[in-house]
Symmetry: C2
Subunit: 122 residues, 2 copies
Amino acid sequence: MSKVRPDAPVTAEPAMIDGIFRALADPTRRNVLERLSERPTSVSELAAKHAMALPSFVEHLKILESCGLVSSRKVGRVRTYSLAPDRLRLAEDWLGTQRRLWEGRLDRMDDYLLRLKMEENR
Amino acid sequence: MSKVRPDAPVTAEPAMIDGIFRALADPTRRNVLERLSERPTSVSELAAKHAMALPSFVEHLKILESCGLVSSRKVGRVRTYSLAPDRLRLAEDWLGTQRRLWEGRLDRMDDYLLRLKMEENR
DNA sequence: CAAATACTAAGGTGTTTACCTAAGTATTGC
DNA sequence: GCAATACTTAGGTAAACACCTTAGTATTTG
């Protein structure tokens, strides 16, 4: 069980989250992540499904690697990318925290409306 | 209920998700979302905490609204923004799906390693 | 060893982003 | 009514992005 999870007050984090969300904002890059969740894959195999010049595509891979969402190793002339799940969790944590916050807010609003109603009925 | 083909993105409405992740990629905008999860707030009150010219800040609000993460209403001269939780869920869903996929992948790898070990011990 | 393969580097282009200032337009308070 | 308030509009800039082409460099493979 390898888990990078310091007890973070996840709400507001550094520029790291910027980079992760930015990386996720592109469909090419999301597709790469989806495919890497199946298995590690070489640059050319990943690139084959994208109608784009290779250097352009490789740039996307570099972006994913630079924010830590994937890692790569070169063996011979082949570079293979794999998913690096820890970082995705950062983004998920932020969203989860947010959801909890707005759910809390909705609950408070419910309470408020309930109290209003009770006063009306009094 | 058609299942998507293995090499196709699992995600629906990619353009919408692009916009949402892009919106989340900026710390100013994330901070606005965090504050709106407390309560609806006017433009000037939101802007007060950001060292930025008002028109610049308002641009961030427009971005959040254009991708549906928040909504606004103007009453008199005051425009009030509030959180619109549905869309955040889209981003969360994508990440959740991804997590399930890579967890599946890790499980398969565990199985594989387990089988290897059992063969060794035979 | 030559040719094919798998990237990698370098540099160029048009668009989008994230800010700015200056000058509006409605509303509201006195 | 006049001034303060709360945005809005218009426009301008520098840097980042997402592509491209052309030309490399290592590594296999026949």
